[in-house]
Amino acid sequence: MSRPEVVSLQEAIGLINDGDMLTFGGFTIWRRPMAAIMEIIRQGKKDLHLVMVNGGTHDDMLVGAGCVKVWESCWVGHELYGKIGGNFSRRAEAGEIIYEDYSHVQMVYRLAAGAQGIPFMPTYASMGSDVLNPEYDMLGKAGLRDGSNPKIPVRKYEMYRDPFYGTEVCLIPAANPDWCIAHVNMVGSEGTVRVFGQKYSDEEAMKAADKLIVITEQIVPEEYIRREPERNLVPGHLVDYVVELPWGAHPTGCFGSYEADGAFINNFFTSTRTQEGFDAWAEEWIFGVKDHEEYLNRLGVSRLETLRASVALGYSTKVKRGSR
């Protein structure tokens, strides 16, 4: 397929199978594909294997809903609006989820290697930390490094003496998830992708995955997005499915489009202190609405207008963020 297909969110998420390996665009509470996350939960996907540069509100929601079997990343939390991932911590402490910790550089490199089509990347990062403690190879402990799943490397890492300059480096295995779901600002009608502001690790995540679903604030004429190709991130032939879904990253923030909804995220985080709290929250905001449009209607126009970003600044000046 050299041109992506424009589909509905339900159709796109319907293609994901139980047990698939997923990664995401965005960074912590910024530009996360939240409408897609909620649809994954509505469709009741199970045993997902997440491989992410970092976590945030999105993966904590999936973990709370019981969709995740394996979590590989380096961080989860909600920044200023929630100091830990409440669902993730609770399930990790109860032994209900397989967690594998790497460092930030290592996770970027796992996806960068995957994006380059090579089996590993070397790095100096993280040497001398418990990330490399052989006792903490959690996929190994779970018996998942036996080679039977081609997406799971048979070792967590390998120390190696570089043959060219004689340094000690740590080799980190590539990751090629089945799916990347990314939320972006703009896609051309032939699939060319544009992201405003920081790119985070979107390019590595998008290129590493076998299939790419791009959720976009808007689809524009291809002619428009090709006037300045240097501003574009990924060509259309690498995109499989496009979903046009304004506000699809809410409650996370989207540079140039809207602010992170801190009050909403904090309310979610507060609910995750217990499984019952999260279940009630999900009943209201995920299962209690049929789709993204109903979700936005429940949020209401005034809330969304407060979050809308200034065109000049890329963020909203109308949100109350602190105590003054």
């Binding site: 960074f27 990343s73 911590s89 402490e93 993280s126 001398g128 790119k199």
Partner: protein
Amino acid sequence: MTNKDYVKPGDFKPIDLLAVAAAREVNDGEVVFAGTGLPMLAIMLAQLTSAPSAVCIYEAGTVDGRPISLPTSVGDARCAYQASIASGLFDVFGQLQRGRVDLAFLGGAEIDQYGNVNTTAMGGYYPMGKRLTGSGGNNDINALAKRTVFIMIQEKRRFVERCSYITSPGWRIPKWPEGDFVHKREVYGKAFRGGPGAVISNMGVFRFDDDGIMYLDTVHPGFTPEQVKENCSFDLNISRVSGKTELPTYRDLELLYNDIDPEGIFLP
């Protein structure tokens, strides 16, 4: 009173002193990696006072931004305002690994006397004790910046004999796969760039000797070296205390509360 005068005890909050002491660790012209929260206040205050040409990198991918509104995290759109580059993690962590970062500010839940830090799990990793956020860039940054400064809460259970999980490698670290503790130079070899330079708590400022062992350098007003030692689980060296921590000035507080964080995001 001029605004360069030191603030009188009682006219500032402990968090103000943390931000100001951290800002004073920045030398002019340095390239600084900063995380969310107090590190942002510190680098911005430094840029407005003693280090106007310091360059700030945020790990989500912005370099040398000039925000006019305080970001709530490193991924915030505000970080990119007037930045020279808005790229991503691969770029900025590459600059770190390349040896371009002079100073980085970090935090943690536990620290030991070698500057090893835990942000992953309290009371054990497997089985999981109390799960925290995890490394993020903490591990990479403490590993590869030339100098790191940690901002910590001073409690006995946080200044520990041994971290329950070493997220972030300090001066004496396990060499895997055996796990014997050796000097960082032995593990990093030619890639060695430096390590923890200071720890700033709500009671004092700590530094590290040539063996990579933490000692108390200055105490904040209202505390004695003995009190600080009582709030460490390890046997803190208090034989090298050089005096009291320099107080904030009225100008520092004006900048922090009126210019940097007028909304009360990190300074309630």
